[in-house]
């Protein structure tokens, strides 16, 4: 869901795209210079300055450097400029919590936060996120330390097959930041870009409402 008309909230760290780029300076660009063959390390162990590449694509001609912050870690890599943020996360950074449903910006399965705002990562070119701060489901909480929205989804059984779930949760947490509409109908409208074929909708609605009651969420 593209929340163009929604309030854009800066992420918790307070870094703007501009200040981040300035801050990054020469070191960041140098780190981004080359693509190593072989798969990236698993996201959890990835270093802040790792050089990730898709071994299967083998640094395509015309690959460009990209540096951004993913789940509070700085990542630098070289990618084909046509790579979507979704493919970049899944293929280049091996973060598969973000799912591909339609690849057309119509299902919401791929929802992530870019600078605190929810976007469909399949409709976003990774290279457009230069210097941006990305949050994915992996960065929201971990199995040991769940985000309150993740906990609420469990309590309310707000999934069946689970394939839409990371997108639903990312969308819901961004919605909390945007300001949760007061009525059920308003919440439904604001969540209507995330479809769930299993039809877990009533429970998704309950989870969002429960999360709203239990805590004021900061993502």
């Amino acid at each position: 869901m593209d929340a163009d008309d929604k309030k854009v909230t800066k992420s918790g760290s307070g870094i703007t795209r501009r200040s981040f780029l300035a801050h990054l300076g020469v070191a960041g660009v140098a780190a981004a210079s080359l693509t190593t063959p072989g798969r990236a390390q698993p996201a959890a162990e990835a270093k802040a300055d790792d050089q990730s590449g898709d071994s299967m694509v083998k640094a395509p001609p015309g690959a460009v450097p990209l540096t951004f912050i993913v789940n509070k870690k700085q990542r630098s890599l070289k990618i084909d400029p046509r790579t979507t943020l979704l493919d970049c996360l899944r293929e280049n950074l091996d973060m598969t919590g973000t799912k591909k449903g339609c690849d057309h910006g119509q299902c919401g399965a791929c929802t992530v936060h870019v600078n605190g705002r929810r976007v469909n990562s399949c409709l976003t070119l990774a290279i457009m996120c230069q210097g941006d701060e990305i949050t994915t489901i992996e960065g929201l909480g971990t199995p040991e330390h769940l985000h309150p929205m993740q906990q609420a989804f469990i309590t309310c059984d707000a999934y069946q097959c689970g394939y839409c779930t990371s997108g639903q949760i990312m969308s819901a947490t961004a919605l909390m930041e945007e300001g949760l509409p007061p009525s059920d109908q308003g919440i439904k409208e604001a969540m209507s870009g995330n479809i769930c074929r299993c039809g877990a909708y009533p429970n998704i609605l309950s989870a969002i409402k429960m999360c709203k009651q239990s805590t004021k969420v900061k993502s």
Binding site: S55, V57, G101, H104, Q160, K188, G199, L205
Partner: protein, 831 residues
């Protein structure tokens, strides 16, 4: 031996993948990390619905950097397969029969290279004249499989003495499964031509069979593993076989792991759908709306190959009665062969197409007689002591339908709201409301008897934890959670001590598809059987142990109780040992701590040569009332309120069951109201992404949504439960019927007609039609004779159906009509 166990206090434990789902750590096929030498596979599909292949040119693909190989049917050992009749060709030979049929398979070093190679293959195909409608198939006399029929009584005699007869044609649209995770598989080649296939499938054994057969392997050389699916809904019962076999072929040829993932657009264009049906019906009924005979001819659009069409039509024929007693019936089903991808299983499996046929008839009888459709349905409902056998001869045992109807009538305030709606429709110039209660009586069991069996493997480890493996696959329905609960409860231990393992043909052989809502019934029962055998052995050891350590105790295994993580003799609960201690004792006594359980449903069977039998172990029942509001100017429809009431027996996990009920209802509603499959004149699907194919979103939920269940002990099934995966889908019909009911307020003397799906465009076209019709009637002031058929102009692309039309063909009794308005009978023609 009766060994006790305790029932849990809180049966609503979370889904066994809960943490994984919310943290993004649940692994689906394409989340599995690539092996370093993996190849990516793409399919070059037929671009035409029917044609003769002149030539295939792969030379440009060879030049694509990263190209690994291109393969055709010649690389297969066999090319013919099929779950019921072996009529399907996996890869086209000289002729293509549907858009999306695989012609060439390419493999490359990366996804992008595979895609480039796919695009570089040039197919030269001479287009032939495809068959794209059921009507055309009938004209060409091309069918799949034989004709199936069920008969009871004498319909002709009943028609001869009928008060009223309505005759009509009803078009039922298909639907795409739209599982969010498209078809996906990865195949790992092993030593000696063995292969391991990871597939997002509901039916690992089917893939094992077809892969072995088409690749020239023995079954024991093929292992198929399914961890979970991102949705299945029937679409991964047979159609996950195609990608799996093609990827397996590549893996064997290249000796490298092979990954094949459909994108959503390809998936929607290439895979089969819910069967569209074209049904003709003739029904006779009394002045009170009681049906005396039903004659129906069901034509399913089977697509190019049979797939599961035979069984789908079988289920349509056995569900055309739904909740209503048919004293005389003559129903016949045929499967039209067309040039679409083979239509396949989809939650409900033909049942919904049979059921909506009679629910539509109930609405038409009501509109014709001027009765409330609720009263028509109630008058026809199966009885408890009489009028309680189906048209195929099965007794409707433990019939909760009357209770469900009467309870929901009250709790939904049906009568009061009907009066409000009547008033609203008289006063509102902008909106129109309608309401309907529809029912479901869904037979549980596979209609193919042999499939009604399952096996389970239960292994206990020395720390007292347990692994369970069954043939059931997890697609979100919670079958793993149910099985985990059943096993944990048998041993009286914590749920988190039990893990249900990925489904694998290595552990469970010759399994049935996870389908027919029967996964928990069958696999859960098998797991319970295995657990009970283990308990007997452990109880033996523990009883001996108590006898040897407690004076005067004696060894009485049948007094041993498994509860709260402990094992004790019921005569002396204070002397107890933990489950893990008992396991260790048993191990030291060299007692086997692993066991297989088998389960076969008893007492079912059906004979198609007679069209008679008792194919179902029991029925899951329910009903729903939906109220809709329609914008008279745009046709926009919203569901104001839905009340669901179901009998699902004793629930293992009420939370999961509720999710299934709501989810299935929403899916049924989508099928009938928003999901519009549109095709070009050449049979190409236009609506192949969520951009144009609209499944319900959260905003489409009924504004008020109430879902309840009644208490009922289903003695014939495991723990008294009832299957719940498919039946509630059928209740989505209440929304469609409510739209039809709304139209009856503006259709004047006509029985309103409405196609499926009743999307906004369809509703608007009907509203416009009745507006014009009434204007013309006003102008001419005499009966408008063409009234019962839809205006031709609004019928669209070739796939599109002629309009659903109920037509009163006769009213026998002059002047003795229940309907107060006049004019309608004039339109009748004698049958």
């Amino acid at each position: 031996m009766q060994i006790g166990h305790k029932t849990p206090k809180n049966p609503n434990i979370p889904h066994d993948s809960a943490i994984g789902h919310v943290s993004g750590t649940s692994v689906y096929i394409d989340d599995m990390p690539p092996a370093h030498n993996e190849v990516f596979v793409e399919i070059v599909p037929s671009p035409v619905a029917f044609g003769r292949i002149r030539s295939i040119d792969t030379s440009k693909a060879l030049a694509v950097p990263g190209f690994v190989g291109a393969y055709t049917y010649r690389d297969l050992h066999h090319n013919k397969f099929g779950p019921i009749t072996q009529d399907e060709i996996l890869m086209a030979e000289d002729t293509v029969y549907f858009i999306g049929q695989a012609v060439v398979v390419v493999a490359a070093e990366s996804r992008s290279a595979a895609l480039a190679a796919r695009r570089a293959v040039v197919l030269d195909i001479e287009e032939l004249d495809p068959c794209l409608t059921v009507a055309e198939a009938i004209r060409r006399d091309q069918y799949l499989d034989r004709t199936y029929a069920i008969k009871r009584g004498d319909v002709e005699a009943a028609f001869a003495e009928a008060d009223h007869i309505i005759e009509g044609h009803f078009s039922i649209a298909g639907a795409d499964h739209f599982y969010l995770e498209s078809q996906a598989c990865i195949v790992y080649p092993q030593e000696y031509d063995q292969i391991v296939i990871h597939s997002s499938t509901q039916n690992p054994s089917e893939i094992q069979h077809v892969a072995a057969h088409l690749l020239g392997l023995n079954l024991n050389q093929v292992v198929v593993i399914t961890k979970r699916m991102g949705g299945g809904f029937g679409g991964k019962e047979c159609q996950s076989t195609h990608p799996a076999v093609m990827a397996a072929m590549v893996a064997l040829k290249t000796r490298r792991p092979a990954r094949l993932i459909y994108n959503k657009d390809d998936d929607m264009q290439w895979t089969g759908k819910r069967h569209p049906f074209e049904n003709d019906y003739k029904v006779s009924f009394t002045d009170a709306g009681v049906i005396t005979a039903l004659q129906a001819r069901l034509y399913a659009d089977g697509g190019a190959y049979n797939d599961l069409s035979t069984a789908v039509v079988g289920r349509a024929l056995t569900h055309i009665d739904n909740a209503y007693f048919l004293p005389n019936a003559d129903v016949v089903g045929k499967i039209a062969r067309t040039n679409f991808p083979p239509n396949t299983a989809f939650r409900g499996f033909g049942g919904p197409q049979g059921i909506i046929t009679i629910e539509n008839i109930c609405e038409e009888i009501a509109a014709y007689l001027g009765m409330d459709a609720y009263d028509v349905r109630r008058a026809n409902l199966y009885g408890v002591d009489e009028r309680n056998t189906t048209h195929y001869g099965q007794l409707v045992a433990n019939n909760t339908l009357p209770e469900l109807f009467d309870t929901l009538l009250e709790s939904s305030q049906y009568r009061e709201r009907r009066a409000t709606i009547d008033g609203f429709n008289q006063s509102s110039l902008t909106h129109l409301r309608g309401m309907a209660m529809t029912a479901v009586k869904f037979g549980i069991s596979f209609t193919n008897k042999a499939l009604n069996q399952a096996n389970a493997l239960v292994n206990i480890y020395l720390d007292g934890t347990i692994q369970v493996s069954t043939g059931a696959t997890e697609m979100g329905q919670g079958v793993n959670t149910n099985i985990k609960m059943l096993v944990a409860e048998e041993f009286g231990i914590d749920y988190d001590k039990v893990i249900v393992m990925a489904t694998s043909t290595e552990k469970n052989n010759n399994t049935s598809a996870t389908a027919a809502s029967a996964a928990t019934d069958l696999n859960g029962s098998a797991a319970v059987n295995a657990s009970r055998k283990l308990k007997e052995r452990i109880a033996e050891v523990v009883a001996q142990h108590f006898a040897s350590t407690e004076t005067g105790m004696g060894a009485y295994p049948d007094r041993i109780v498994f509860a709260d993580g402990y094992i004790y003799d019921s005569r002396k609960p204070s002397r107890r040992i933990t489950f893990a201690e008992a396991v260790n004792l048993s191990y030291r006594e060299r007692v086997s701590l692993g066991e297989r359980g088998h389960y076969a449903t008893s007492g079912i069977g059906f004979d198609w040569s007679l069209g008679q039998g008792a194919p179902f172990l029991y029925y899951t029942n329910g009903c729903a009332v939906s109220e809709v509001e329609i914008d008279r100017f745009t046709g926009d429809m919203r569901v104001l309120r839905t009340d669901i009431l179901m009998d699902i027996g004793q629930s293992i996990n009420p939370g999961l069951n509720r999710g299934q009920i709501v989810g299935a209802f929403v899916q049924g509603m989508g099928w009938l109201t928003t999901e519009d499959l549109r095709y070009t004149r050449n049979g190409a699907l236009l609506t192949h992404s969520p951009t144009t194919y609209k499944i319900p979103n959260i905003y489409d939920l009924p504004a008020t949504f109430i879902c309840n269940t009644i208490q009922n002990d289903n003695k014939v099934n495991v723990r008294g439960t009832k299957a719940v995966g498919e039946p509630p889908l059928v209740l989505g019909i209440s929304v469609w019927a409510a739209v039809k009911n709304a139209l009856s307020y503006v259709s004047g003397e006509s029985i309103p007609t409405l196609n499926t799906p009743a999307c906004n465009e369809e509703i608007l076209s009907r509203l416009t039609y009745y507006k014009r019709l009434l204007e013309r009637q006003d102008n001419n002031n005499h009966a408008f004779n063409e009234g019962f058929y839809h205006d031709e102009a609004s019928v669209l692309l070739p796939r599109a159906r002629s309009h659903a039309a109920g037509r009163a063909v006769r009213s026998n009794l002059s002047g003795k009509r229940a309907r107060s308005k006049s004019g309608k009978a004039d339109k009748g023609v004698t049958a």
